[in-house]
């Protein structure tokens, strides 16, 4: 098998909504499938459900072996029996976002607007979606599971954007939220990074105007470059130095003598090798048009914009308990953004906790081993349960 051949799997467990979802752009996307996983047991009172919102390139396989990649779930260290989000106690739901490519309706789904040839896929004709549209679809899923009120909504990065959107759009629907390593709006710098990624994909001849499936190819080089660039933003200078430094790896064309390398790219730095691996493994599991759709949804994200440019009114009168978490070396969603959010919540007299975790691991720290973060998640959820009188 070619190393850029997309991995495919049969059916991801999903819920179907024939009535579809009314999108922010005015289009009603119907029908809509939302692929999801659950862990633990829903209590008879249906009061112990936690919705986890995944980050940009994550998916619903939060705490189990991924059916495509065979890798452990992306948050297995956080979610499971006895873990900080304890599935012995909580019923955990995680769904693939609308616009995604792991079983939920997205650009790789068959076109349902009556246009195009029979069996044609959406591709770039997929309607523009927003973070709120993703949340609307999740709301349908939660409702279909018979849950009237979630115990909590938790997520990091783009997952944190969804968490905030939940708190603003459905404030009666949950007791608590944990927006992690996120911001109340996407910054100009983050939009800029997204744009570089998109341009890399679009510039790949194999993208073919977004209709790459017709030729049975994927824009692997463009998508890999986008991933490599994005991956740098998920780390930090300290983390890169600690992991790779200036170490080199012998390339196939290497013939190094005492004078130095004989060819410019014969030997490569470890960090280059790492990024190439990240890029090439990514293209096998992620759809390029989903990349375009979802990054655009993130770019549009701005909670205040929907409330006359003010953040505080968006949360006015909220009874939701907030726990805002940032990481000290995260420069993609820096602590300053989390502080802006925490202060806006204070202004709204919301019940808010705000913690910055000291780490050198950058934005990705929320996925990695950070004992203080684990304690914060566990303790906050216990506090909410105590306050709500849940055993």
């Amino acid at each position: 098998m070619n190393s850029t051949t997309p991995l495919t799997v049969g059916d991801h467990p999903h819920a179907s909504f024939p009535e579809g979802v009314e999108l922010d752009c005015g289009v009603t996307l119907a029908p809509v499938d939302i692929a999801y996983c659950t862990y633990g047991q829903l209590s008879p009172q249906k009061d112990n459900a936690i919705l986890i919102c995944h980050a940009f390139t994550g998916d619903q396989y939060v705490a189990e072996k991924h059916p495509l990649t065979g890798k452990p779930g992306w948050w297995e260290r956080m979610v499971g029996p006895g873990k900080p989000i304890d599935t012995n106690r909580f019923f955990v739901i995680c769904s693939n976002v609308l616009g995604g490519c792991m079983g939920s309706t997205g650009p790789r789904s068959p076109r349902t607007d009556g246009q195009g040839a029979p069996g044609e896929l959406w591709g770039t004709a997929f309607p523009p979606i927003t973070i709120r549209d993703m949340v609307r679809a999740q709301h349908k899923l939660v409702h279909s599971l018979g849950i009237e009120r979630l115990f909590a909504v938790v997520g990091g990065s783009m997952g944190g954007m969804q968490v905030l959107e939940w708190a603003v759009t459905y404030p009666q629907m949950m007791l608590a939220v944990m927006p992690i390593a996120t911001a109340p709006f996407h910054s100009a710098q983050n939009i800029a990074f997204n744009e570089v990624g998109r341009q890399a994909i679009i510039a790949d001849p194999d993208w073919r105007g977004g209709r790459y499936w017709e030729a049975d190819v994927v824009p692997a080089r463009g998508l890999a470059v986008a991933r490599m660039m994005a991956h740098i933003t998920y780390l930090s200078e300290e983390a890169l130095t600690r992991k790779f430094g200036r170490r080199m790896r012998r390339g196939p064309a290497s013939g190094q003598g005492p004078e130095g390398p004989v060819s410019t790219f014969g030997d490569i730095f470890e960090v280059e090798s790492y990024l190439r691996y990240q890029g090439s493994s990514f293209v096998r599991r992620f759809d390029a048009n989903s990349y375009l759709s979802i990054t655009r949804a993130m770019d549009w994200f701005d909670i205040a914009a929907d409330h006359d440019g003010e953040l505080t009114p968006a949360f006015a009168g909220t009874a939701v308990r907030f726990c805002v978490v940032s990481f000290s070396s995260d420069w993609l969603f820096p602590t300053s953004a989390a502080r802006t959010l925490a202060r806006a919540l204070n202004r709204a007299a919301a019940n808010v906790s705000f913690v910055e975790i000291e780490t050198d691991k950058g934005h990705d720290a929320f996925l990695l081993d950070e004992p203080d973060f684990d304690r914060t998640v566990r303790g906050f959820l216990c506090g909410v349960a105590e306050h709500a009188g849940l055993s």
């Binding site: 726990c323 925490a342 202004r347 019940n351 808010v352 906790s353 705000f354 913690v355 304690r375 303790g379």
Partner: protein, 199 residues
């Protein structure tokens, strides 16, 4: 819980809204929440203590008295507490103003710089006094705005705050018996504790 924290807790009505500025490890707000049914929240500068508090299920934000009080709406709490910190903030007068803007009552404790030992040491030694309470040298101390009980009362008069209750206590928080005389309290009280309200 420290004895002076117990004295503070005794000033607070059950089932009220309390903001503790400099909430430390969360002892006071934990007590108020679990024993008194208060909606008690904290602000703390030391991130390790913030994390520890949140990990104990207490709502605490990272921040400090000088920079974060402005973000709270008017009258959003019944009590705003500042323990042993007034002398270390950048703008004590503004912090007090913010406390009584946010809360109906302000509860303030601070170490009394009018204590006889400090007076005596400065008089006899001619150097900045060092005692059990004031134990960091002048070039390292975070206590940039020390004041005496009389100084504090003068500021309250000037800014129109009503002193509902006041106590002088010794370092361990034992109530000192100088209740009747401000002069004696100012001489013998190591810590002062005030319950203020707006006029």
């Amino acid at each position: 819980m420290r004895l002076d924290q117990r004295l503070i807790a005794d000033m607070i009505e059950p089932r009220t809204r309390v903001l503790d500025i400099g909430s430390g490890d969360g002892t006071l707000i934990g007590h108020l929440y679990r024993e008194r049914g208060c909606d008690a929240r904290g602000i703390e500068l030391n991130m390790e203590l913030v994390t520890r508090s949140v990990a104990h299920g207490l709502p605490v934000v990272h921040g400090d008295a000088d920079h974060d009080l402005a973000y709270y709406p008017d009258h959003s709490f019944d009590y705003v507490v500042l323990q042993r910190t007034l002398q270390a903030v950048e703008r004590p007068r503004e912090v007090l103003r913010q406390m009584l803007r946010i809360g109906r009552y302000a509860i303030v404790s601070f170490p009394n710089f009018g204590h006889w030992q400090l007076r005596l040491r400065l008089l006899l030694g001619g150097c900045m006094p060092m005692t059990a309470v004031w134990h960091t040298p002048w070039y390292e101390t975070p206590n940039i705005h020390p004041c005496t009980i009389r100084d504090f009362l003068e500021l309250c008069r000037k800014d129109g705050y009503i002193v509902e209750k006041w106590l002088a206590v010794d370092e361990d928080g034992e109530r000192a018996p100088w209740r009747r005389s401000i002069r004696l309290a100012n001489l013998f009280g190591e810590q002062a504790l005030f319950l203020l309200r707006r006029r």
